[in-house]
């Protein structure tokens, strides 16, 4: 651990606040979701840096759970975006029959 932990804390807070600015300022739902991912990643970086500092892998387990929650959040958020902004009301794969022979 040659780099002081405070540098990791500062880096993670910079990334976190870039994410906060993204959520506040941008109005595009996709970019807002990506900013939330940035914030998740900042938290993960801190967890892993502290796990390394204390040589205790419970931080890794927590980061793993954060990644899982981020995946679930992205899936649900994108489902909401799609159902809200879908240009055509119904997109049905059964309508696509040009390869039907």
């Amino acid at each position: 651990m040659s780099i002081p932990i405070n540098d990791y804390v500062t880096l993670a807070s910079v990334i976190f606040f870039i994410g906060v600015i993204g959520v506040i300022v941008r109005r595009n739902p996709l970019i807002m979701l990506m900013s939330v991912e940035l914030m998740f990643n900042a938290a993960n970086l801190l967890l892993i840096a502290y796990a390394r500092l204390w040589l205790h892998n419970v931080g890794h387990i927590f980061a793993f759970i954060v990644i899982t929650v981020a995946a679930a959040e992205a899936a649900i958020g994108l489902a909401i975006v799609v159902t809200t902004f879908r240009p055509e009301k119904y997109v049905d794969v059964d309508d696509i029959r040009t390869l039907h022979g």
């Binding site: 300022v25 595009n28 739902p29 940035l38």
Partner: protein
């Protein structure tokens, strides 16, 4: 030491690019760079398994989902109709709030004394720390309950997505849509025959 600052610069630059890009596709590219750099940083923190997970889950699954949604909505061409642009009004309060919160955080980091790290080897072995074996052993023994909870979270997410996306069309609408598609195919075949 130099590696950390290079990685930190790339991380911050790509994060700014993510929130500043005009088109969502560019944001995805910037976010991909951010996640890959973060994975490298995880390796330097001897969290190899999480670096791999970072690449597979974030770059492989989440970002592909983003790209898929962008392609589905065609938002790379035209922005969403999200109403009037609120950017000029919101810049000032957002900037003040963010700078104040960030300054407070930096102040707290610089003044509060962090708990001292225990001596190496007190709680873990530095040689195996962060390896897949170490992580897996912890995940399936001591931390089994959080692991099971993770599965529950994913199942709730799947049910939520099905509830959101599983809109059923009525029989009449389905019939209409099928007829429309059939007509399109017939016209295409006719055109093909003439040409």
């Amino acid at each position: 030491m130099i590696a950390f600052w290079v990685l930190a610069a790339i991380l911050i630059a790509s994060a700014v690019w993510t929130i500043a890009a005009k088109k969502p596709v560019y944001s995805v590219v910037a976010l991909l760079l951010n996640f890959a750099t973060l994975a490298v940083l995880y390796v330097t923190l001897s969290a190899e398994f999480l670096a791999v997970i970072q690449i597979i889950v974030y770059s492989g699954a989440i970002l592909v989902l983003f790209v898929f949604v962008i392609a589905l909505l065609g938002s790379g061409v035209a922005p969403f109709p999200t109403g009037p642009n609120r950017l000029p009004k919101i810049w000032l309060p957002a900037g003040i709030f963010t700078l104040a919160a960030f300054g407070f955080l930096i102040y707290a980091v610089s003044t509060v004394k962090m708990a001292a790290a225990p001596a190496t080897g007190a709680v873990g072995n530095a040689d195996v720390f962060g390896s897949v074996a170490d992580f897996g052993k912890a995940l399936f023994t001591v931390q089994l309950l959080p692991f099971e909870a993770t599965g529950l979270v994913l199942m709730v997410a799947v049910i939520g997505v099905i509830t959101l996306g599983g809109e059923q069309m009525s029989d009449a609408e389905a019939q209409q849509s099928r007829m429309r598609a059939d007509r399109a195919v017939r016209e295409a075949i006719l055109r093909e025959g003439k040409g």
